[in-house]
Amino acid sequence: MFRILKKQKLNDSVIRMEIEAPFAARRAEPGQFVILRADERGERIPLTIAGYDRERGTVEIVFQVVGGATMCLGAREEGESIPDLVGPLGVPTALEGLKKVAVIGGGVGCAIALPVARKLQKLGASVTSIVGFRSRGLVILEEEFCACSDRFFLMTDDGSYGEKGNVCAPLGRLLQTETFDEVIAIGPLVMMKFVAAATRPYAIKTVASMNPIMIDGTGMCGCCRLTVGGETKFACVDGPDFDAHLVDFDEAIRRSRTYTAFESRKREEHCNLFRK
């Protein structure tokens, strides 16, 4: 069993949890993920690691309550335990040797972008962070990003906080006068697609962190497959990071909708359960 040591609401629908998982914490690196189950009948939920503390033997996850499974997880309280947590899975984000990097986070993806930015800063790289949210109420981790970035841009779609617009606006401006060793994009598929489009003309290496539907996370089901440079790859074992200029984002977006109807039905059911 894996105990929830800390639970914190980052905004109305995003929750941070610190979970006791010494096995996973021991080897976790930014960019890797864990799979957990909220209860004995629960679905396997893949979540990218948002932080880890090797000494305390904990991993941190940040997730948005979107469907039935995340709703169950979100209902677990501090001090309670979840039956399963396996990891770290996937290949860590390659950060060694980078001198100047733009880290782009969108929505809840910022939680995963943060450890990447932190590690880059630790490695001595110059970090430009650009984060985007739909509106002010959804902003998360602003201070934390500020603390590990040389430059920080905060965007909201509706302009209710920070600068109005999406993450590509400041990125586009910067690219006109300077360059980066690498751009790392973590967030909604559409955002990553547009970041890739923005950097492509400058041929700046751009990495997208993919989070497709998954079951086992060890290469067994093939559910997480995506097309990268015309080849089929499994996000769980070959990724989750891929060259954003080669990822077929349109296909990934379509595949991500495979169970949309089921998910919204489940959400309804769970909402009704919690209402009772």
Binding site: G42, L89, G219, M220
Partner: protein, 459 residues
């Protein structure tokens, strides 16, 4: 008295029209009378051809003699001396190619129903046993087993019996490997697998779930932690795809994914948290046991199902019994046909599969006649979902994390007859070595490796 009837004693099955609507076990097993009647067909041959045909060498003549006498408990004891999972093997072994294939009675008429009798003895034991086996005294030596499928469980059980302190590491949240995620409930109830694992635990085997070798820990770390030897029974989990257009559309799944959702995650149950794609029409590509499992599962989820296979019925690699069960349940077969492209609408939903008719040419290396396309014979099979059951290859995860572990062309771990790999103290067996094969072959490999590990640790 020997019963000279040419046919096996019939075993009751759920009627096809009923069972295609539920996930309960299809074959219902022998009653005591039926078991004794079938046991009476055994000639008790001195040279024991049946045992030669068994990958783990069960004393078949011996256990059947006990059933004949009505000593079912003893029959179970005899089997369990050599086989760890009789309830599983009695159900899923391809007996027609093994023990029963060698049975003298099969020369004229049907062989003795050895599988059915094994299952009977195991089920009788499960129903009547009041206590779990006792753990033998430990010798203080630790062995790590990676993977809790048939190879890993057999290796672990054998080593535990020899007094080793065994820990099994499993990547998923439940132990059992392909027995729980792959083989459907209607062919192998999960309760049976769970009980077999409970018995192993009673023998002193520790099972650690949620632990991925090569990710959660490395083999080197295991050795440092005091494990004297490691057995790799990681199976062949990586699904194959065809590489045709449309294969990444929304309604296309590997059989592994489809079956895992249904078997491991229980997506067929009302109120399950895990979704499974509910299609009106399902096409299953492939002709092996996994293809039959996927087809019969889809049928139970209410679909009209067509198996598309590139050779003819005679070359179908699935067990005859599985194919026949599928047919009885209304699964359609489009034989001598091969997919060329999966057709989709603008939203990437599957709307059909373009196939081409095949004909059989000269035999290939496998001895089966090589299929080739018939020119101008393309046709479209209407379907909303495609399940690829083309076989699997060994998972590269462990190999990538383990320097010096030699693997072959298809990613299979290179090991000798007794499971020795290129790394000192590291053994392997089962599908991880052979590529996808059968439960019993994996168990045999696990057992042989256990003997080799015993030998290695003694010296």
């Amino acid at each position: 008295m020997i019963d000279h009837s040419l046919k096996k004693t019939q075993m009751a099955v759920q009627p096809p029209e009923e069972r295609c609507k539920n996930f309960r076990e299809v074959a219902l097993g022998y009653t005591e009378e039926q078991a004794r009647a079938e046991a009476a067909r055994c000639l008790g041959c001195k040279n024991r051809p049946c045992t030669d045909g068994c990958p783990v060498g069960v004393d078949i003549r011996g256990f059947i003699a006990h059933i004949k006498e009505g000593n079912y408990g003893e029959a179970y004891e005899v089997i369990s001396r050599t086989s760890l999972l009789p309830a599983v093997c009695g159900r899923v072994c391809p007996q027609e190619k093994q023990c029963e294939g060698k049975c003298v009675r099969g020369i004229k008429g049907e062989p003795v129903g050895i599988g059915r009798l094994e299952r009977f003895a195991a089920d009788f034991h499960a129903k009547t046993a009041t206590k779990l086996p006792e753990a033998p005294e430990k010798n203080g030596k630790r062995v790590a087993v990676i993977g809790s499928g048939p190879a890993g469980l057999a290796c672990a059980g054998e080593l535990a019996r020899r007094g080793y302190d065994v820990t099994v590491f499993e990547a998923l949240h439940v132990a059992g490997g392909v027995l729980v995620y792959g083989i459907p409930e209607f062919r192998l109830p999960k309760e049976i697998v769970a009980r077999s694992i409970e018995e192993l635990e009673a023998l002193g085997v520790h099972i650690v779930t949620d632990a991925v070798a090569g990710k959660s820990f490395t083999l080197g770390e295991l050795r440092e932690a005091g494990f004297g030897a490691v057995f790799l029974g990681t199976g062949a989990g990586l699904p194959k795809f065809m590489g045709i257009k449309g294969e990444n559309a929304k309604g296309v799944f590997s059989a592994n994914e489809y079956l895992t959702r249904v078997n491991l995650m229980k997506a067929y149950e009302e109120g399950s948290e895990t979704p499974v794609f509910r299609a009106k029409r399902v096409a299953v590509v492939g002709g092996g046991n996994v293809a039959m499992d996927a087809a019969r599962t889809a049928r139970r989820l209410g679909a009209e199902v067509t198996v598309v296979y590139r050779r003819s019925r005679a070359e179908l690699p699935a067990r005859e019994e599985e194919a026949a069960h599928a047919e009885e349940e209304g699964v359609l077969f489009r034989l001598l046909a091969n997919p060329k492209e999966i057709l989709t609408d603008g939203e990437d939903n599957v709307i059909g599969m373009k196939c081409v008719e095949m004909e059989l040419g000269e035999p290939d290396a496998s001895g089966r006649r090589r299929p080739r396309e018939k020119a101008g014979s393309e046709f479209v099979l209407g379907t909303d979902c495609v399940i690829m059951a083309l076989g699997t290859s060994p998972n590269p995860l462990l190999k990538r994390a383990t320097a010096g572990l030699e693997t072959g062309e298809r990613g299979e771990i290179v090991a000798d007859e007794d499971g020795r790999t290129s790394l000192e103290g590291v053994f392997a067996g089962g599908d991880a070595v052979t590529g996808s094969a059968t439960v019993i072959l994996a168990m045999g490999a696990g057992k042989r490796a256990a003997a080799a590990i015993d030998e290695y640790l003694k010296n």
